[in-house]
């Protein structure tokens, strides 16, 4: 899906747990996530810590969208 969005000329970043799949399929901007059932969270952490973790991942994704890349890049 990420690739098709990029084909349309819109930069897209893939936040995903299984990075090798994302690489195989061909996403260009990849941000590794936490775990399959909670890619952007961690129920073992406190509410505030979890929110901070999620924010950090989203900020990393925004940085990826602002970065010029020539090939597949894992941020």
């Amino acid at each position: 899906m990420v690739k098709e969005i990029e084909k349309a000329g819109i930069p897209a970043v893939h936040i995903c747990t299984i990075v090798p799949i994302s690489k195989t399929v061909g996403a260009n901007r990849i941000v590794p996530a936490i775990a399959i059932p909670h890619p952007l969270g961690n129920p073992a952490k406190s509410g505030e810590e979890e929110k901070l973790l999620r924010r950090t991942l989203v900020e990393k994704a925004l940085c990826a969208l602002e970065t010029k890349i020539e090939e597949q890049t894992v941020f």
Binding site: M1, P11, V13, S22, A27, A33, H38, R54, L62, E66
Partner: protein, 156 residues
Amino acid sequence: MLLQKLQGQTFRTEYPLPVFDRVAPPPPVKNMSAATLALITSGGIVPRGNPDRIESSSATRYGKYDIGNLRQLTAQSHETAHGGYDPTYANEDPNRVLPLDAVRNLEREGRIGRLHPYYYATVGNGTSVARAVQFAREIAVDLKSSGVQAVIVTST
């Protein structure tokens, strides 16, 4: 093929692996603080009750859902339709899959210009590549016509 292999003859695979095409990365977003960002997920996050009946595996459709007035997702408002992972954590807090709360905070702080008032969701669980391509092509047309300049796709 097995016989050929056992006899040390040349063989050709009976199950070729798919070959995926590559897309040249588009230029980055120049000014994120003025850009419209959209969210897409293959993690199956849907409004409670799954109004479009998106299948829990081998999905044949995706949904487009209004989040224009939402600051975050809650266990009361949303759930996951994905049948390929333990839904406990996503149902407890759907922001763990579609990070609306964090994106809204960053929007308020001016880190992004604005969040597109709809998100798109499907279930990436044994879903064919052909379907995923079709969904994303349709979504891309919608995003283009809405002036979206950047996209975050989240996957479980």
